[in-house]
C-alpha cells in the first residue's frame, strides 16, 4: 500500500476531525466534506495498487488494471457524502436564519439531567 496515499488519508482525517469538533456549523460541514474525501481515498487504497483505468479496450486485455470493485464502492461514497454535505449546508443556513448565527448549541435536556436535584428514590437525610 502506498504510504503517500495513507498519509493523505491520515492528513485529511486529522483536519476533518479538527473541524467537526468546532462549534460553527459551517466548519462542521467543511470537516464532513474532508472526512468524506478521506473515506473515498481509503476505499481506493484498500483495493490494491494503482493501475490502468478499468476500461477494457477492444483487444480484451485485463492485465494491470486497477481494482474496479472498490472504485464502484467509492463512487457511491462520493455521491452520498455529497448529499450529506449539501444537506448540512442547508441546515447551517436554517440555523443561521433562526438564531442569527450558525453555532451548535448545547443540548439543554442533557444539561438539565446533569443538574437534577435528588432522585425520587433517594433517602432523605
Amino acid at each position: 500500500m502506498s504510504i503517500a496515499l495513507i498519509g493523505t488519508v491520515g492528513g485529511l482525517t486529522a483536519v476533518g476531525l479538527y473541524l467537526i469538533t468546532a462549534r460553527s456549523l459551517s466548519r462542521i460541514v467543511l470537516g464532513f466534506a474532508l472526512l468524506g474525501h478521506a473515506g473515498v481515498l481509503s476505499l481506493l487504497a484498500a483495493g490494491g495498487p494503482a493501475g490502468k483505468a478499468p476500461i477494457i479496450s477492444s483487444d480484451g486485455t485485463t492485465t494491470g488494471i486497477a481494482n474496479p470493485l472498490t472504485q464502484a464502492l467509492a463512487l457511491t461514497a462520493i455521491v452520498i457524502s455529497f448529499g450529506l454535505t449539501l444537506f448540512l449546508l442547508a441546515l447551517a443556513r436554517r440555523q443561521e436564519e433562526l438564531t442569527a448565527d450558525d453555532l451548535v448549541e448545547d443540548d439543554l435536556e442533557d444539561r438539565r439531567i446533569a443538574r437534577l436535584p435528588d432522585l425520587p428514590g433517594d433517602r432523605k437525610p
Binding site: 498519509g7 495498487p49 450558525d102 439531567i113
Partner: protein
C-alpha cells in the same frame, strides 16, 4: 402436571391483578386456591422415589428451555411452600382489616411469589432456576414494599432487592462456570467441579446462597424486611424464600465435594450467622425482630450442617429445615395476631397474655419448644439429629462445629425463653380486641403440626428421609427418633436446655437500648453512594456539548485502532504508486490545512474546492477516471452550494478558547494516526487476491460493457445505485423544505 399447576397460578394471579378489586379481602381466599391444589399434589408426591421430569426445550443448540424435576426434596419444599402458603393466605384474610386497600394487588403478588418459589424448587436447569430465583427476589421486593408510602419501608425493600439481586448475579456466574465445566445445563447431570474453576464457582454460589438466606454479612436486609405485613414475614422470611439459599447449597453441594473452599466458606457463613443471629435475637425487644434474628441463626445452623457434607449432617439439615419452617411460621403468625389484637409487638410492653389468650399461648409454647428442641415436638427430633451429627465428626471439624452448634443451641433456648416470657409472661395486662378464628386458627394449626410431626414421626421420616437420600444416598441409614436412648447427644441436649432456660430467664427482663442497625445503614449508604456516583458520571458524560461528544468518540475509536500497529508488516508498504502521487497527496493535505486555517467562509469554500480537485488528481493517478468525473461534478456543486448557502453569513469564524483548541488538535492528530495505522495494518493481513481479472472478463461477457466500473454499478449493484438515487432525491426534498421555510420566515419578518 407441573405446567398445569404453574398455569393455574398464573391464571389466578392474572384474574386477581386485573379484576380482583371488587373481591376486597376475599381476594386472599381466592389466592389460597391454587396453593391448596398444589399442596394436595405435593402430599401425593411426598417421599417419591421416581422423580417426575418435565422438559420444554426452546432453543436446542443453547440448551435453553424450562426443565423441572419433582423429586423427594422438591416434594418436601413444595409441601412447605403450598401448605404453609395456604395457611398464610387464610391468615392474611384475618390479618387485614376489611377496609384495607390494595388487597387484590397484595394477593396477586403473594401468589406470584408462591409460583416463583415453586418454580425454583422444581427447577432442574440452571436457566430455569436462575429465572425463578430472580423472580422470588423481585416479588419479595414488592411484598416488603407493600406499605410503599413509608420512606423507611421503601429503603428496606430496596435494600432487600439490591442484596438478593446482587446475589443472583453471583449465582448466574457460578452456574455458568459449573455448566461450562460439565458441558450441560441440567442440574441433576452436572459433574463435580475441581481446580480453580471449582473454587471460583464454589465461592460465587456460596455467596449467592448467603445473600438469599441472609447470612452475615449479607443479613442486613432481613431485619429490615420485617417492615412487610406479618403474613409476608411468616411466609417469605421464615418458611420459604430464605430457604432458597439453603436449598441451593444442598443441591449444589454434591458438585463441590472436593472443594475445601466450599466447606470452610459455608462453615464461616453458617457459624458466624448462627451465633451472631442468636445474640441479635437476645438484643431486640420487637417480637418480630427477635424471630427474624432467630431465623438468621437457624439458617446459619442449616448452612453449617450442609457445609459439613456428611450424610448424617445432611439428613439433620433437611430434618431441621422441615421443622424450622413449621415452628417459625407458627411463631410469626402468633406475633402477628398479638400485634393486631393489642396494637404492639414489643415484649417490654406486652404482658399477661397467658391468661387472656390461652390457646394462642399454648400454640406459641408448642412452637417455641419445637424451636428450642424440647420433646415432644418435631424440633426435638431434628435438633437431636443435628447434635448427633456434629458429635460424630472428628478432629478440627468436631472441635469447631460441635462447640458452636451446641453454643448456638443454648442461645436458641435462651432467646426462645425470653420471647415467650416477654410476650406472654407476667406483667401489666394489656387490652386486647376480640378474637377472630381466621387470625388465630392458622397459627394454632401450624403449631399443632409440630406436635403431630413428632407423634407421627414415621410420617415425617417418610417425607424427610427420601429428600435427604436424594442429596446423599448414604443418608438412608438415618431416621428421626422419638427417643434416642441414653446417648451422649441426649445428655448434651439436656444440658443445653437447662443452661438455655436459665440464661433466658435471667435475660427475660433485659431490655438493652435499641441496637443501631449499623449494617443496614452501611448498606443504605453504599446504595446512596452508588446512585450519587451514577449521577455524577451521568453529569460528566452526558454534558450536552456536541463537539465534546464527537471528540470523545473519535479519540476512543482512534485509541482502539492503535494496537493494530503490532500487526503491521512493513513489506506491504511502498512509498508511492507513482511519484506524482506523493506531490498531489501533499498538496491535498496542505490545502486541507489551509481550509481549516482560513478565517473567511468564502475562502474556506474555495480551499475545499481545491481539495476536491486535488483528490480528483489522485483518482486519475490511481486509474479511476469515473471517480474523477464524478468528483469534479460534485465538487463544483458543493462549492456553489457553499457560496449560496453561506455567502451572506458574517464572513469570519468565531474565535475559540486555547485549551479546547489544543484538545481538538490532540484528538485530530490521534484520529489521523489511528486511521493510518488501521489502513496499513489491514493491508498487512490480506484476505486474498482480489479477482480483478475475473470481474473484468465477466463485465464484458455477461454485462456486455467495456467500462467495468459502470457495469458493476448498473448490473451487479443496480439496486444499490437505485437506493443512492433515492437518497439524493430525499436530500433534495429536505433542502427544498428547509429553504422554503426560510423564505416564508423571511417574508414574515419583512
Amino acid at each position: 402436571m407441573i405446567w398445569l399447576l404453574l398455569g393455574l397460578h398464573l391464571a389466578v394471579i392474572g384474574a386477581l391483578a386485573t379484576g380482583g378489586r371488587p373481591l376486597g379481602r376475599f381476594a386472599l381466599l381466592a389466592g389460597a386456591l391454587p396453593l391448596a391444589v398444589t399442596s394436595v399434589w405435593a402430599v401425593v408426591h411426598a417421599g417419591t422415589t421416581s422423580p417426575l421430569v418435565v422438559d420444554q426445550l426452546w432453543v436446542e443448540g443453547l440448551d435453553l428451555g424450562f426443565r423441572f424435576r419433582m423429586d423427594a426434596l422438591a416434594a418436601l419444599m413444595t409441601l412447605l411452600i403450598s401448605g404453609i402458603g395456604t395457611v398464610v393466605f387464610v391468615y392474611a384474610f384475618g390479618y387485614f382489616s376489611p377496609s384495607a386497600q390494595g388487597l387484590q394487588r397484595f394477593a396477586a403478588t403473594l401468589l406470584a411469589f408462591s409460583a416463583s418459589m415453586l418454580g425454583l424448587v422444581w427447577a432442574d436447569s440452571i436457566w430455569t432456576l436462575f429465572i425463578f430465583w430472580e423472580l422470588t427476589s423481585v416479588t419479595s421486593f414488592l411484598l416488603v414494599g407493600h406499605k410503599h408510602e413509608d420512606d423507611s419501608v421503601q429503603a428496606a425493600a430496596r435494600r432487600a432487592l439490591m442484596i438478593t439481586g446482587g446475589g443472583g448475579l453471583a449465582l448466574l456466574a457460578g452456574f455458568l462456570l459449573l455448566a461450562d465445566n460439565s458441558g450441560t445445563v441440567v442440574i441433576s447431570d452436572l459433574s463435580v467441579a475441581g481446580g480453580s474453576t471449582g473454587t471460583l464457582a464454589a465461592v460465587l454460589i456460596m455467596v449467592a446462597a448467603a445473600t438469599k438466606s441472609a447470612q452475615i454479612p449479607f443479613h442486613v436486609w432481613l431485619p429490615g424486611a420485617m417492615a412487610a405485613p406479618t403474613p409476608v414475614s411468616a411466609y417469605l422470611h421464615s418458611a420459604t424464600m430464605v430457604k432458597a439459599g439453603v436449598l441451593l447449597i444442598a443441591v449444589t453441594g454434591p458438585f463441590f465435594t472436593e472443594s475445601e473452599t466450599w466447606k470452610w466458606l459455608g462453615l464461616t457463613f453458617g457459624i458466624t450467622s448462627m451465633l451472631w443471629g442468636a445474640v441479635g435475637a437476645l438484643r431486640h425487644s420487637d417480637g418480630k425482630l427477635i424471630l427474624a434474628w432467630g431465623t438468621i441463626s437457624q439458617l446459619g445452623l442449616l448452612i453449617t450442617l450442609l457445609s459439613l457434607g456428611s450424610a448424617k449432617a445432611t439428613f439433620a439439615a433437611i430434618s431441621l429445615l422441615f421443622a424450622h419452617a413449621l415452628f417459625k411460621a407458627a411463631l410469626f403468625l402468633v406475633i402477628g395476631e398479638i400485634d393486631v389484637r393489642t396494637g404492639t409487638r414489643d415484649i417490654t410492653q406486652l404482658g399477661g397474655l397467658y391468661r387472656t389468650m390461652p390457646v394462642t399461648f399454648a400454640a406459641a409454647v408448642a412452637a417455641g419448644a419445637s424451636m428450642a428442641g424440647i420433646p415432644p415436638l418435631l424440633g426435638f427430633a431434628a435438633k437431636e439429629a443435628a447434635i448427633e451429627a456434629v458429635l460424630g465428626l472428628e478432629g478440627l471439624e468436631l472441635a469447631i462445629a460441635a462447640t458452636t452448634v451446641i453454643g448456638g443451641a443454648v442461645l436458641t433456648v435462651a432467646y426462645t425463653t425470653r420471647f415467650l416470657f416477654g410476650v406472654f409472661g407476667p406483667g401489666p395486662a394489656v387490652d386486647i380486641s376480640p378474637a377472630k378464628l381466621t387470625l388465630a386458627g392458622p397459627g394454632w394449626l401450624l403449631a399443632a403440626a409440630s406436635v403431630v410431626g413428632f407423634l407421627a414421626l414415621g410420617l415425617a421420616n417418610d417425607i424427610v428421609g427420601p429428600a435427604a437420600i436424594e442429596l446423599d444416598a448414604d443418608a438412608a441409614v438415618y431416621s428421626l427418633l422419638r427417643w434416642p436412648g441414653l446417648t451422649a447427644g441426649l445428655a448434651v441436649s439436656v444440658g443445653v436446655v437447662i443452661i438455655g432456660l436459665g440464661l433466658g430467664a435471667r435475660l427475660r427482663s433485659f431490655t438493652p437500648t435499641t441496637p443501631i442497625p449499623r449494617g443496614a445503614n452501611l448498606a443504605d449508604d453504599f446504595l446512596d453512594g452508588v446512585l450519587e456516583g451514577a449521577r455524577r458520571v451521568t453529569a460528566r458524560v452526558q454534558h450536552g456539548s456536541l463537539p465534546v461528544y464527537v471528540a470523545t468518540m473519535a479519540a476512543t475509536a482512534a485509541a482502539a485502532s492503535l494496537p493494530f500497529l503490532a500487526a503491521l508488516n512493513a513489506d506491504v508498504l511502498i512509498a508511492w504508486d507513482r511519484p506524482l502521487q506523493a506531490f498531489v497527496g501533499a498538496a491535498v493535505v496542505l490545502t486541507a490545512f489551509a481550509s481549516a486555517r482560513v478565517g473567511s467562509r468564502l475562502g474556506a469554500a474555495v480551499a475545499l474546492g481545491a481539495v476536491g480537485v486535488g483528490v480528483s488528481g489522485l483518482f486519475v493517478l490511481h486509474g479511476a477516471p469515473d471517480l474523477l468525473l464524478t468528483q469534479l461534478l460534485v465538487e463544483t456543486v458543493v462549492v456553489v452550494g457553499f457560496v449560496i448557502g453561506l455567502g451572506h453569513l458574517s464572513s469570519n469564524f468565531p474565535p475559540v478558547g486555547t485549551t479546547w483548541r489544543s484538545i481538538r488538535l490532540g484528538v485530530a492528530g490521534l484520529g489521523g494516526l489511528g486511521v493510518m495505522v488501521a489502513l496499513a495494518a489491514s493491508a498487512s493481513q490480506p484476505a486474498g487476491r482480489p479477482p480483478i481479472g475475473e470481474i473484468a472478463d465477466q463485465a464484458v461477457v455477461t454485462g456486455g460493457g467495456q467500462n467495468v466500473v459502470n457495469v458493476i454499478l448498473t448490473d451487479i449493484r443496480g439496486l444499490d445505485t437505485l437506493g443512492e438515487v433515492v437518497v439524493i432525491g430525499t436530500v433534495a426534498l429536505g433542502i427544498l423544505a428547509l429553504t422554503r421555510t426560510q423564505r416564508e420566515t423571511g417574508r414574515n419578518r419583512r
